[in-house]
Symmetry: C2
Subunit: 439 residues, 2 copies
């Protein structure tokens, strides 16, 4: 993308009304614009990151055998009356009346709706197991939305729902999601720690939050350091195999959010392994059995011909929240430092003297070589001064920068800068392109 044809409203000043660093940086880099309390437009740069995260989540859900569909944003109130949650949910649920005065709502989550889809089509244990997911906008009418996209009102969530005949089956489905989540967050450059958590309004008796560490985290978390050092299960994991060992390898260690914290158990750990930190919740998984299927009569025939309510779990990832979460975990004093897999572009190409024939030619050739190699590049072809170009590239935080100027061209080299380490090296063009090409 040529910057002169792009829409990237980067501003020099830190915005006054943003309390945390991710919100400040998202406003400064023109990733989002607020359109109302907790409601945002995703400007082009932010949109690209959102889509990258969505795609990683999609690939890891598919790998684990979940099937994507898409439920609508608006739902009928009657479904929520069936489950009993319509009155329970309180003011966070945005209630709407249509022109015929029918009670509707903007879905804050989708247990009821997916259960309704399920019961319409699935009648036999032979059609199980099943895991259906979507990535759709939700609305929760927070009384005090804050922290930018970290606690917005309209937000993008991936929610998956598993259906099994037995509790054992449902627990196996839960383990698949447990492992898939670790892989997904790992691909985004994050270390996420699963922690036993309260089940809240979703319900059920088994639940883990996936927490990433950041000084600005919303809640205090406590865990064994071993969990931070453990690699993710890996993309070659066989999701058809028994994943009990893979899960227990982690759940054997202490990890809990504030609400579930057991001071005595934590203090029993050797002191050097006690991690007490702030954390950000980026995922939450639940096993809740028949909480929705029983009242909503989502029943299947078992091997003996008996109708039994299906065993369910649900599995959420905060896709839009992750954009802020990743920035909280990945930034320095100059701006964002994107992990490669979620960076809006892979390379920033800086023309040090736009208008100079030799520089323009070298830059254009480089830009076209990058595009031809499938490497997403943002080409700063503007006539802004060098200092402004460097600062802008640093704050938007692309993994690599290629700087092309008249002095280097005389020597036959371009400068390659690695944003994260700050390392700079001068290389002939072909070698520079090879250096920034992902393995």
């Amino acid at each position: 993308m040529r910057l002169s044809r792009y829409f990237l409203p980067v501003s020099k000043e830190a915005p006054a009304d943003a309390a945390i660093v991710s919100h400040q940086l998202m406003l400064r880099t023109g990733m989002v614009r607020q359109n109302g309390a907790g409601i945002y437009t995703w400007l082009p740069l932010g949109f690209r990151v959102l889509k990258k995260i969505e795609q990683i989540v999609r690939e890891e859900m598919n790998r684990a055998g979940a099937i994507e569909l898409l439920m609508p944003t608006l739902q009928q109130a009657d479904l929520w009356r069936e489950s009993g949650r319509y009155d329970d949910y309180g003011k966070e649920m945005l209630r709407i009346k249509d022109r015929h005065d029918r009670d509707m709502l903007y879905g804050p989550t989708n247990e009821e709706l997916i259960t309704d889809v399920f019961r319409a089509y699935v009648k036999s244990y032979k059609q199980l197991p099943l895991n259906l997911y979507h990535q759709q906008w939700k609305f929760r009418d927070e009384v005090r939305p804050r922290f930018g996209v970290m606690r917005g009102r309209e937000f993008l969530m991936k929610d998956a729902y598993s259906f099994d005949l037995t509790e054992d089956g449902a627990r196996a489905a839960y383990r698949k999601m447990f492992c898939a989540y670790l892989n997904a967050f790992d691909r985004m450059g994050l270390t996420a720690v699963p922690m036993r958590a309260d089940t809240g309004p979703i319900g059920g008796d088994l639940s883990h939050e996936f927490i990433i560490m950041a000084d600005t985290g919303e809640s205090a978390v406590f865990c064994d350091k071993a969990l931070l050092d453990m690699p993710a299960p890996g993309l070659d994991l066989d999701f058809d195999a028994d994943l009990t060992a893979e899960v227990e390898k982690r759940t054997q260690y202490y990890a809990a959010t504030e609400e579930m914290h057991d001071e005595a158990a934590f203090n029993a750990l050797p002191e050097e392994r006690r991690v007490s930190a702030r954390g950000i919740e980026v995922g939450h998984i639940f096993y809740f059995g028949t909480k929705y299927s029983a009242p909503m009569k989502a029943e299947v025939q078992d091997q003996d011909g008996k109708m039994v309510p299906v065993q369910m779990g649900s599995y959420g990832i905060g896709v839009s929240r992750l954009v802020g979460g990743i920035i909280e975990a990945c930034h320095d004093e100059s701006g964002i430092v994107w992990p490669e897999a979620v960076a809006p572009f892979h390379v920033g190409l800086i023309n040090m003297r736009a208008g100079d024939a030799a520089c323009d030619k070298a830059c254009l050739e480089t830009y076209e070589a990058l595009e031809a190699a499938g490497i997403e590049a943002l080409y700063d072809d503007t006539d802004d001064r060098a200092g402004a170009k460097f600062a802008r590239m640093d704050v938007i935080g692309l993994p690599w920068q290629l700087v092309i100027g008249p002095k280097g061209l005389e020597k036959g080299v371009v400068e390659v800068k690695h944003r994260k380490t700050g390392e700079k090296v001068e290389l002939p063009l072909a070698e520079a392109i090879a250096k920034v090409t992902p393995a």
Copy 2:
């Protein structure tokens, strides 16, 4: 995808409550499920088609220089009070009050919101031209939603908005979209005819609807046959060039929707060129100048330092509606006949004797060979009887079928069926795969 692990609730019976063939077929093939009047869940098969269409639209918008972002579904009423449309819009606008009793609405279109984004960042003609688009769910509270996704209430629309300093610039932006639309519809296997149209509630003095022909079309349309025979501009079109000739090549011919129809002009055509048919609107483009920018004070500094309201146009494509529209245009008595570019899978692989070791082995090898070649395949590995498998593959309408059974394997061949022509041929496996591989 293995059918035994997929969620594809195909039903044998035609649904009683669907009035048009696309709605019937989408229900029968388990593409959508209605969740309320005009509100649908996109089940896995339908979701895949929706995503294919969305991606084609994205690629053709990007090719024309438009930049993708994403605006929220909910908007503040105050913005619509600025433009004067809040009171005008009537009951089709879904009005909402949040917990603090603020007036909000579910966006039926986004002229106001994008104008607000624009005026926050763009202050100079040097930042123009600009074309920003998104693909987001909209809501129009139709008094009588019908025809499935063709006239739903919650629907997915691509809407683009162009910003230019001058009227000439805005008309050039309009021509880019005009050509990009023809290319996008062409890639979907559709012949879309641009027709002069009424501007309706969007406003402005220049507008074209893009219409595809189908017997079940919602409105009468009239055009010169030359337009149906004319190829799309093509993907190698230079969008930086003057596209006047490309547009006038088409607008020189008579084409009008019912509201704009001029009987005398139409009858002046040679009889063999008069096409009077039913049509489905799949896109609509508008030039409306300063209708929104003037009241909302979206002004930029021109070359003389004077502040002038920006010249705007808007450009819609009915993404979810197109799924129905394509089926209306592409089906036969056995079911849907997907154009290759939007088919949910490219090949259906039928195992004629699941459980037979030789058949299972040959099918699995074929399935893996297809996947390795990047060809999306739906592998029917169920133990349903052959007739049911054939009927299901026909009704879901994948472009190609590969049928593998014991008799063919003895002869060393598999059957390749082309869904559209019905042509069947027996070929050795490698040749069969080559035959279904897209050029």
